[in-house]
């Protein structure tokens, strides 16, 4: 009894002490200072010497990609003692959106967010982002003309420039050079066609150990809208009726449906991509990294991780999207956006100028993560020449004229969600292309209506 009461006394003391500690010292993250002051008119660029204070910088990157941003932050802090950039990385897209939204809702906005052009619309419509047209006009470090127009324009919404693009990446074909050479397949080259693409994929789909099951696939594609779109475009079709003010999906046009069927046939007819079962067994990227997949469609964002995991186990490079009636690829771009209610917008802009100006872009592109959005950096050797793969970096620049993008809409993610579900069904043979198209159009109607409502109510 005595024993127990002593133990209990300790326990209770701990509990009370801990509770008092917890109540007395809440542990919020050091975001910008709580009381919003009146922001000065956004016309003057910040003087370098006078910079001080603290801003939070939220990014949405994988583990291997964060390092580059950490270096940027450190360099800037060294150049400006008295400045602290609080870097926060949230790897998952949906989680990033949700957490950023929670910050806005709590009136403790993140000062700078680095977000994809397909996702910023939902924030722009809520009025929490700061249009940066004026900042850009008066900047001494960057001008609108410095950037590739395709990337810059993707971050315009309702005639305002909301974010500055960091990269002009696009969808490309990562390929395993070693496997191509072993199978005697000609390497992909600029202007290669859908037929070349398909025959390469077929040749590389093999049963390498003779057990009757395919264990090396020629191709890995995710059955989602942003992978299907370039194929539709290359065949002369369109995803929506109007990129700026979309009112419906136009994937029921003959051209779009043919492209959709061709895409679906990769799995259903030719079996050059993993079946549903094999897809569930191992992810495409993992297969490519282990050398059991010939080609893998993704954007530049995966390059740092691929460099890290593949090392020297095989040779790999990148090739452009194959051409059909035309050549098309889809834009992948992330941009720096500043919050309207940020308490240190000048500092936020100054950091953006550094991290996304010529200096920062050169640094970041060396990590392999970006195809720089600034023309001067993209055409420099910082991007084009690199000891690590891929070697064919010029391909990205050559493809820029062929870049198209999806609409910027407030409900675009929901449209993608519904469309992705149908693409998946058709891709794995659970529905015909006709059925999938009809269902997709039917299910996305309300989202387009909602987007128009949102735009009109502004």
């Amino acid at each position: 009894m005595k024993y127990t009461s002593r133990a209990l006394r300790v326990l209770i003391g701990l509990a009370l002490g801990a509770t008092i500690m917890a109540c007395a010292a809440p542990t919020p993250a050091p975001t910008s200072a709580p009381a919003p002051t009146n922001a000065p008119a956004p016309t003057t660029a910040a003087q370098d010497a006078a910079l001080s204070g603290q801003v939070s910088f939220y990014i949405n990157e994988g583990a291997d990609e964060v390092e580059g941003f950490k270096d940027l932050v450190e360099t800037f802090q060294q150049q400006h003692p008295g400045v602290t950039i609080h870097l926060v990385n949230i790897p998952n897209d949906d989680e990033f959106d949700q957490k950023v939204a929670a910050l806005y809702a709590a009136k403790t906005p993140p000062d700078i967010i680095n977000i994809n052009y397909r996702r910023f619309g939902q924030f722009a419509i809520k009025g929490v982002l700061q249009p940066v047209d004026e900042y850009l006009k008066h900047s001494k470090v960057m001008k609108a003309a410095d950037f590739y127009p395709q990337a810059l324009e993707a971050f315009r919404f309702q005639d305002k420039q909301y974010c500055i693009p960091q990269n002009i990446s696009s969808l490309e074909v990562y390929y395993n050079k070693t496997l191509f050479e072993k199978a005697g397949v000609p390497l992909p080259k600029a202007g290669w066609t859908w037929d070349d693409f398909l025959s390469a994929a077929k040749a590389l789909t093999q049963d390498t150990n003779g057990d009757g099951k395919v264990d090396q696939y020629g191709l890995g594609i995710a059955p989602v809208a942003i992978r299907l779109a370039p194929f539709i475009w290359a065949h002369g079709g369109d995803l929506v009726d109007n990129t700026d003010k979309p009112t419906k999906l136009t994937i029921d046009s003959p051209a779009a449906m043919e492209a959709f069927q061709w895409f679906v046939d990769l799995q259903v007819k030719h079996h050059v991509v993993p079946s549903k079962e094999d897809e569930a067994t191992e992810a495409d990227q993992s297969r490519f990294e282990h050398g059991t997949m010939g080609m893998y469609l993704n954007s530049r964002v995966e390059t740092p991780e691929l460099r890290e995991t593949i090392q020297d186990s095989f040779e790999w490079d990148v090739a452009p999207m194959p051409s059909d009636k035309t050549t098309a690829t889809i834009l992948h771009s992330d941009g720096y956006c500043i919050s309207k209610d940020s308490t240190n917008k000048d500092l936020a802009w100054a950091f953006t100028e550094f991290a996304n100006g010529p200096a920062g872009q050169s640094e970041l592109t060396k990590t392999g993560r970006t195809v720089p959005s600034m023309q001067s950096v993209a055409t420099s050797n910082d991007f084009l020449v690199n000891p690590e793969p891929p070697a064919n970096n010029k391909m990205y620049l050559d493809m820029i004229p062929n870049i198209r993008r999806v609409p910027v809409a407030t409900t675009w993610l929901e449209v993608e969600g519904a469309l992705n579900n149908e693409i998946q069904r058709a891709f794995y043979g659970d529905a015909t292309v006709q059925e999938a198209v009809q269902a997709a159009i039917a299910n996305t109607g309300e989202y387009f209506k909602q987007n128009l409502n949102d735009l009109n109510s502004q």
Binding site: S5, L11, T19, P28, A105, T108, E282
Partner: protein, 280 residues
């Protein structure tokens, strides 16, 4: 003789079946990473890769995550013990009418789906500005975490002979002293059971830390493991190693506290015996 053998066989099968997920977790966590996936059932693929546990640290920094999870549990569990046992004692000692009401309330509260609290609590805590703090995570501890624990304490305290309570009160004890010197010492089983159960709740919690914690430095272990799974969905050896690390403290505590659970279930039985009247 034959039926005894059959019984042992059946029991062994049962035990294996229920332990199976954990055993498989352990077995796969020791699989060397470079090894291609198994093509036939193999429980151990030598060499046993204990280094997978160190590799987990390459993907996510284990120590700060552990510290964060432990900090939350370390505050929430004692707090839960306090508030749940206080409530339990009060219910045990209050007159019949109040007791019936409070018990009914507790049972009704137990039936509130956790899902239904996500949205309103998030709105509440966000408007309070408690985003990226652990305060929303600790809030349930203020009400004893679960009415089930309150009931458990009530049942344990109610079994203590009333003479002991009366003697203490005659000696001039106030409610806190009664709680501390009479009730708690005689309800050790309940204390341990609630401590272990509530630890499991706070340690394993995923949704609340996911919703409220923003910066990586504040993440708890389950959140980080989920992020790891999203980043490397096919790297099962490392995922299983991380899972084993997450599961081990709870299982160990449970093994230690096991016999107190059974005492706790005796107490539960009494409650049900009495509560049965309410259903007639």
């Amino acid at each position: 003789m034959g039926s005894r053998l059959l019984r042992y066989l059946a029991l062994s099968v049962l035990i294996l079946v229920f332990w199976f997920p954990l055993l498989w977790m352990l077995s796969y966590s020791l699989r060397p990473i470079g090894l291609p996936p198994p093509t036939k059932p193999e429980f151990f693929a030598p060499p046993l890769a204990f280094e997978n546990y160190w590799r987990v640290n390459d993907y996510m920094a284990i120590t700060p995550l552990m510290v964060n999870s432990l900090r939350i549990a370390g505050i929430a569990v004692p707090l839960t013990l306090l508030t749940a046992s206080w409530a339990g004692l009060a219910i045990a000692q209050l007159p019949r009418a109040a007791r019936a009401f409070l018990l009914a309330l507790s049972v009704a509260l137990m039936l509130v789906p956790a899902v239904s609290t996500w949205v309103p609590r998030f709105i509440f805590f966000t408007n309070l500005g408690w985003v990226d703090t652990i305060l929303p995570l600790l809030a349930p501890a203020v009400m004893g975490t679960s009415p089930f624990y309150v009931i458990l304490f009530y049942v344990s305290f109610a079994r203590i002979p009333s003479e002991l309570y009366d003697a203490a009160r005659l000696d001039g004890a106030n409610a806190l002293q009664v709680w501390y010197l009479v009730a708690l010492p005689l309800a050790r089983a309940a204390v341990i059971a609630v401590a272990v159960l509530s630890f499991a709740v706070y340690w394993s919690s995923y949704v609340e830390p996911f919703l409220y914690l923003q910066s990586e430095a504040h993440y708890t272990f389950p959140v980080a493991v989920r992020l790891l799974e999203q980043a490397h969905p096919s790297n099962f050896p490392v995922l299983m190693a991380a899972s084993v690390i997450m599961v081990a403290p709870v299982i160990l505590l449970f093994a230690f506290a096991q016999r107190y659970f059974l005492q706790g279930s005796d107490a539960l039985a009494q409650f049900l015996g009495r509560g049965g009247d309410a259903f007639e």
